[in-house]
Amino acid sequence: MSAFLSINNVSRLFGPNLTTGEKIAAKLGSKVETRSVRAVSDVTLAVRKGETLGLVGESGCGKSTLGRVIAGILPPTTGTVAIDGAPVMESGAKVTTRVQTVFQDPFASLDPRMKVGDTVAEGPIAHGLTTKSEARSYVAEWFERVGLDPVWVDRYPHQFSGGQRQRIAIARALAMRPDVLICDEPVASLDVSIQAQIINLFLELTRDLELTSVFISHDLSVVQHVSDRVAVMYLGRIVELGPVGQVFGTPAHPYTAALFGSVPKLVLDADELVRFDTIEGEVPSPLSPPTGCYYHPRCPLASEICSATQPLTQHVSDLRAVACHHFELQLADDFSD
């Protein structure tokens, strides 16, 4: 499999920003938090050209941090990210415009005091994709492309609805002519009827512009709809990876199975209330993750080995990988149903 976007052994730690005084206090044994959080832990992924990789998990699992590392917004603590062999970051600074991001909240990601046309034009002008004199028509083109009226370039963000702002954010990202698009919960703050419009736009644009993309969402039905493959994260680690139909259909990791089981599903032909399964307990604190497999305290399949050693990532098939000591049990379970 040829990787276009490759993420190699990426880890990202967040430590407390201690003042000198606090450091001394910690040394003297006072209770200052000195532990750091391993938000992303040794993640290796290969995304093919034109592929959409879905990234799912609960809050705090590190999916947004991973997205930011891939986008070159946050430097990884260890590991590298490369697009078509070229690194995204060099010595802590982003060195490419080939990856762009669309963020969750279009109310926070657009400068309220700038005309939206200027916001979209800023990057392309700075990087020579257009000139100041041609910027207007360049932006207008992208506005049309994302379904906005080009005469709106002189408006300010507050004059737009949430869905329209997200279109502007998409136009801003695409105007940089990226090869890779990172979408971090792009529809989470939108109304249901608007969500569908933005999802359709995403599908259309990624296909037409042959974009490679990483689509981060906690909403499994959205990820299932737009992704080719999906990676499931838990406490900074990728626990399962595979083609979306396979992972959703026959989850190999017990966490994946439990996560999908706990999502309320819209069943259109049920006469009784739908039953859904619940995962016991809560996600442990990433400051003091459990030993061995991070999921073992909540896992119904857990045995001694799970609390002792961290499971390695095993390839079940060419495109599919899982990190679980007992994935055969999980798969066998599914097939016997």
Partner: protein, 327 residues
């Protein structure tokens, strides 16, 4: 059917703003039986939260209830004085909000806050009050409840905090709980645990619930009946299963069709064109008409609710019309 615990008739709540009159809730009616859970679904700005606030008498100026009746256990709430309403609020009807950080006082322990809520309506001994608090915390699934009474809100996770808020709402065994998107801010696995528990609680305690949400999948797994709101009106209501299987209002049908779960992966989703209208400048007639693909000249008049055995819709051209005889 037995007498409903809550009966809302033609309720309208308007806000008199400088820019004009915002008809946030404009003539809605529904009944709620003992132990029944009703889902109130709609997009932002459709009036679902204002409906909840109206039921509890929490609408502040410039808004007020301009019309209609709210009967709780036979008592008309809209004509009660603030003082009389206050006695009922928290005791007979209570509310759970989306954000438990904003509802809980960060300066007081959970025990102190529950004690305050008990004292507001009942005289109980310290011991009895503590026993009540522990009982309810246990019931909503908080482990080691009696030790946790001494903890402050920041010591709880988001899911646990919401459970505390639910326990406080349940303290006086209210007849009705209005839950305004209480699981929206939570993770799916925690949401599932809470939804499950609420369903059991409603069954065990006989507390009726109005579950406000924008998420059809969440309410469909919880509520036995649904009311879909659009631009301040209930445009369709009925039993959950029937309504989802066979929606009559084009907006409901569009909402269901636009969900990724109902489409084949990778294919374009059915989308409702346009955006929700501003409540300040509603078009005359049916408010959904500008976005509707079934619109005709007739839609210039606002349709009344058409009732048909247990369900109703406000549309002249309902989806699936051909199934009916002589309609």
């Amino acid at each position: 059917m037995t007498e409903p615990v809550l009966s809302v008739k033609n309720l309208a709540t308007h806000f008199y703003t400088r820019a004009g009159v915002v008809k946030a809730v404009d003539g809605i009616s529904f009944d709620l039986a003992k132990g029944e859970i009703m889902g109130l679904v709609g997009e932002s700005g459709s009036g679902k939260t204002v409906t909840g606030f109206s039921l509890l008498g929490l609408v502040d100026a410039p808004g007020r209830i301009v019309e209609g009746s709210i009967k709780l256990n036979g008592t008309e709430l809209t004509s009660l004085s603030d003082k009389a309403l206050r006695v009922r609020r928290g005791q007979e009807i209570s509310m759970i909000f989306q954000d438990p950080i904003a509802t809980l006082n960060p300066m007081l322990t959970i025990g102190q806050q529950m004690r305050l809520a008990i004292d507001a309506h009942e005289r109980l001994s310290r011991r009895a009050a503590k026993a009540r608090a522990v009982e309810l915390l246990t019931q909503v699934g908080i482990p080691a409840a009696s030790a946790r009474l001494r903890a402050y809100p920041h010591e709880f996770s988001g899911g646990m905090r919401q459970r505390v808020a639910i326990a406080i709402a349940l303290l006086h065994r209210p007849a009705v709980i209005v839950a305004d998107e209480p699981t929206t801010a939570l993770d799916v696995s925690i949401q599932a645990q809470i939804l499950f528990q609420m369903r059991d609680l409603a069954r065990e305690t006989g507390t009726a619930m109005i579950w406000i949400s924008h998420d059809l999948a969440v309410v469909s797994s919880l509520a036995s009946k649904l009311a879909v709101m659009y631009a301040g009106r209930i445009v369709e209501q009925g039993q959950t299963a029937t309504l989802l299987r066979d929606p009559r209002h084009p907006y409901t049908a569009g909402l269901i069709a636009s969900l990724p779960a109902t489409a084949r992966p990778g294919t374009p989703l059915t989308q409702i064109p346009g955006t929700t209208p501003s409540l300040l400048s509603l078009p005359p007639g049916c408010p959904f008409a500008p976005r509707c693909d079934r619109v005709t000249d007739r839609c210039g008049i606002d349709p009344e609710m058409t009732m048909q055995s247990n369900r109703g819709w406000r549309c002249f051209h309902p989806v699936g019309e051909h199934n009916e005889i002589g309609a």
